[in-house]
Every structure is written in C-alpha cells, then in structure tokens.
Symmetry: C2
Subunit: 313 residues, 2 copies
C-alpha cells in the first residue's frame, strides 16, 4: 500500500506516520509539505517540499507516485487566525484541496482520498443540537469553517460528478503532545508548565465557557486509517469523543496535574468575533461503519501534553 500524505510534517502527520508504520510495516509513505521534515520526525519513504497552491508541481508528484491512498492533512487549521488572514485561510484550505482533487482526477483517478474536515463546519449550534450528527445542518460562522464546508462539498462533487473515491471527515478538536500553542489546549498546557516552573505569573485565557469535544490525536489517526481501509466512498464521518468539556474544566484538570492554582486574566486577542457555545459530536456513524472507538481519556491526554510542555519550556 502506497500512501501520499499532504501536510505530513505537521502535528497529526507524525502520529499518522507512526501508526501506519506500526500496523502496515510494508506500507510506503511519501510526504508532501511546504517545509522540510522537522527534527525527530519519523522516517518516511519519500518526501516532496512543495506548496499545494502550485498545481503544476503537485501534478508531477501525483503522476509519478500514483498513490493508493492520499491523506490530505495540509490545512491552514487555526479558526482564530482565519479571522485575521481570511484570504490565506481560504486558499490554504479550499484551493489547495481543489488542486489535489483535480490532479487526482486527471492523473491518478483510482487513488482513495481522505479529505480531513472540521467540526467547525457545523457552525452555529444550540445546546439542543448536541450531539452533532453528520446529518446536522452546516451553518459555518468563521472564514475557516466556510473554507472547510467548501472543501467537503467539492469532494462530494468529485465523487458524484467525476467518480473519484473520496472519504471525508469532520474532525473535532484534537489534542496531543506536539500540537502548536495556537490551539487552545496546547496553549493552556504550555502556560501551566511555565507557571509550574515560575517563568510565568498569570494564565491568559479567551472565552472559558465554550464546550468542545476533545479527542486524543492517537485516536484521530486510528480513525483516519480505519476510514481509508473500510470507510464508504462519498460519505462523511464525525471524528470525535462524544464527550463535551468546557475550557474552564480543561483549566481545572491542568491545575490538578500541574499542582498550580493560577491567577487568570482574559486576553481580548483570544476572544473571537463569533464563536459556538457548545460543540459535541456523535461518533455513532464511524463506529457503526468501520468499528472505530475512542480509547483514551481526556485526563490521560492532558497529562501527556503537560509533560511534553514541561520538558520543553
């Protein structure tokens, strides 16, 4: 089995490569990324440094590699930054995926594509809408969310109109060691590590009342692999834990892990123009179709993230 992984050298890519290597030792994994492999990245079988906005360069890779499976991890994945750089966010979500689709359609139409999307696609949801199912309406409220909806819909058009083999996800917040501190849980963990070491005095937070469905990145990549192996063409799957946790609860869990009671301040830069109050998903569909289940507790995930930051700050 030959894998091509876009955005491979990001947070999720490292976990995905390790998982695929462990369960399919004979698989070849080829990376595409805008940057070179970071230090310590697990071994891959080939690597292309290119920008997916460059459709010509991408076409050469697709034509040459003819992957069995293409895992599209590349993304401008910060919701918060998408409010500051809407054009870049849109290009580096939707336009890059359309380039992937066109290259696969014209040069390697048998490739199975995993289109990674986001729970942000659901957008405006009320407390009564939880847990979100794949049939719930999409009402995106950020530039990032609109870009992800368009990505998913383009995938659907290529399945129905061009016969491509695309499986899509709506991945809820994932957490794990190594995630950028531009994401909320990683940002809080980093601050707690600094508080524990005495290099920081206050914990700066955005809106702490929001409830999110956090899933360990190790569970995320087993879900992606299961969907590539057994997911249904043209379908979209929630990837989530099924549990809701508020940011305030995450803070309390980190406080217990770190043994620190922080003084809290609100950072206006972390408060977004529009934000969903509660986002909790149902993973009934993926559990039913491919037998996937989340296996890690949030407590164990947060401990791993904290330990990683504590060793680094």
């Amino acid at each position: 089995m030959r894998y091509l992984v876009t955005g491979c050298y990001g947070f999720v890519g490292a976990y995905l490569v390790r998982h695929v290597a462990s369960v399919e030792p004979d698989a070849a994994i080829v990376a595409i990324d805008r940057r070179a492999a970071p230090a310590g990245f697990p071994k891959v079988n080939g690597s292309y440094e290119l920008d997916l906005l460059d459709a010509t360069a991408l076409a050469q890779v697709i034509e040459r590699e003819q992957p069995d499976r293409l895992v599209h991890l590349a993304s401008f994945s910060s919701v918060g930054l998408s409010w500051q750089q809407p054009i870049e966010s849109f290009r580096n979500n939707t336009n890059i995926f359309l380039n992937v689709l066109e290259c696969v359609r014209t040069l390697s139409p048998r490739t199975r594509i995993l289109s990674v999307g986001s729970s942000e696609e659901y957008g405006l949801v009320g407390p009564d809408d939880a847990p979100l199912r794949e049939t719930s309406p999409l009402r995106p409220v950020s530039p990032y969310a609109v870009a992800r909806v368009a990505q998913e819909q383009l995938g659907d058009v290529y399945v129905r109109g061009f016969g491509l083999d695309v499986v899509a996800t709506r991945s809820f917040n994932h957490v794990g060691a190594g995630q950028s501190p531009q994401f909320v849980v990683s940002a809080i963990a980093k601050q707690f590590a600094e508080l524990a070491k005495g290099t920081r005095q206050q914990l700066a937070l955005g809106t702490t009342s929001v409830v999110r469905d956090f899933l360990d990145v190790r569970d995320v990549v087993t879900a992606y692999h299961a969907l590539l192996a057994r997911g249904t063409r043209g379908e979209v799957y929630n990837i989530c834990s099924g549990r809701g946790t508020s940011i305030a609860e995450v803070v309390a869990m980190f406080a217990a892990i770190a043994g620190v009671t922080p003084e809290v301040t609100t950072d206006p830069a972390l408060v977004r123009p529009v934000e969903n109050a509660i986002v909790i998903g149902s993973h009934a569909k993926i559990s039913d179709h491919v037998g996937w289940q989340p296996t890690r507790t949030l407590e164990s995930s947060l401990r791993a993230i904290y330990d990683d930051w504590y060793a680094r700050v």
Copy 2:
C-alpha cells in the same frame, strides 16, 4: 449615490447600468472589469480594467472610490464550463468575492455590497421541494454551485463577524437579448435564428426534460436595485419568476416564434455529469421585503432574444 459594479461589462451589467441611470439620473456608476467596455455599452462615469484576483489593484480602487454601493456581478457563471475548468470557476467566483470582502472591510466598511449568487446553490432538489424558498437546504452538485455557496457563506461571515453590510441573492436562470450562447436559452435562440435563415439544418440540444425558472434580465436588475435600496442586511433573497418551464417547452416556444420545425439532435457535450431535474423558486421573500415583482412574460423575453439573434446571425 456612488455605484461600483464588478464584472460590469457583461450581460447583466449593461441592463443594470441602464436601469440605474434611468431611475437615479444623478448616480455615479464606476465599472470594474477584466476587459474594456464592449462597443455600444451604456455610458459609465469611470472604469477600471483589472482582474479581481489581483487584491492589491482592487484595494486601490476601493480605497479611492469609496462606493456607497458595490454590485458584485463578476463571475465565472457557466455551470457547464465549471465541470471542465473547476479551478478557474472556483477562483473566479469565491476567491474574487473574498478579495472584494477583504478590501471593503479594510478600506470602505460602510459600502453596501450586493452579493449575486445562484439558484444552483440549492443543488439536488426533488419535485416536492418546489418552489424553493431561502430556507431550503443547500446541496450543491457542481463545482460552480459549491463556489457560489462558499461566496454566500463568506458574505454571511463578514456580516456577523466583521459588521459589513452585505445583501445576497440566489438568482435563478436569467434570459435576455445579449446573453452569451454558452447559456441554454441564448444557445437555442441563436440556433433557431440560423435555422430560420437556412444557415443551419439541425437543432443540437442537451437534456431537454430539465425544468428551470427563467427570469427576464430586465426584471433581474430591478430586483438588484430594489435590494440595494431596501433589502435587509445579512439576508439572502431568491430572484426568480416563480414559474417552471422545461427546455422542451422553451424549444416549442421558439419554434412558434421562428416559424420553424427543427430536426433535433443530442449533443453529448451539452449533457452534464450531474444535473437537477426541476428548479423553481419562490420570490415571496423579496416581494414581501422590498415589493419587487416580476413583470415580463417568458414569451415576450424569448421573442426579444430571438429578434436580437436574428439581427446578428
């Protein structure tokens, strides 16, 4: 009142300029288009030749002009061609509109924007879904349709998140003299004019069973003007006749107008990978909010289109 009209030198722009000039003689109308004004285009008060993908050039125009109203007509508007050029279609619908939004947000945030969208956004609809209302679900089935949904959703994000003043439309098929023959009614009219003159022997058609809601372009532009004047910020409005007509019926009407009974052939290039059977809209919302009503019969529209082609072929 100062108008900036993108894609001004296209089919709809000519009618819009004439309408605005007739009802608001003191209005200033400034055109933006990728090309120069075609021969015979009505007089405008200023003109910029630029590609809306060039955000830097666009920003200079928005900053200088500070329009009261921006009418965004620019579009890669062919559904059929979007299957052949999905990347170009997406860029020249969604990306150009995002550039418009960003320039207005940063340089002229009081400008009211009319975001012209399409009935294609509704996508897959069954006979029981007619007439489509603005609350009907969006299930886009072509690259063009996905691009238009993203455009509309981006407009909504800029209203809610950034406070911009955007009014959106879902415009159904429009027809009128001067429309490109890449659109079905114009293509059929042109062929009938050629059949009547004896320069063509057969009528080449795609799928004739599909039912569409055709609206005269002169009614379209009165709707756009009414929405700019009295539409509600952040709302989307169907622009349609409320009547459904099959392509076969359009052919029969042209046959009567032209006095020709043609031999019909099917052109596979005109058959699309996925196509909606029936698209009929309700204009109850725009009629209720701004008092707009369609005024032309399809018969009178088809006659004008035929006469125009007959004079030209």
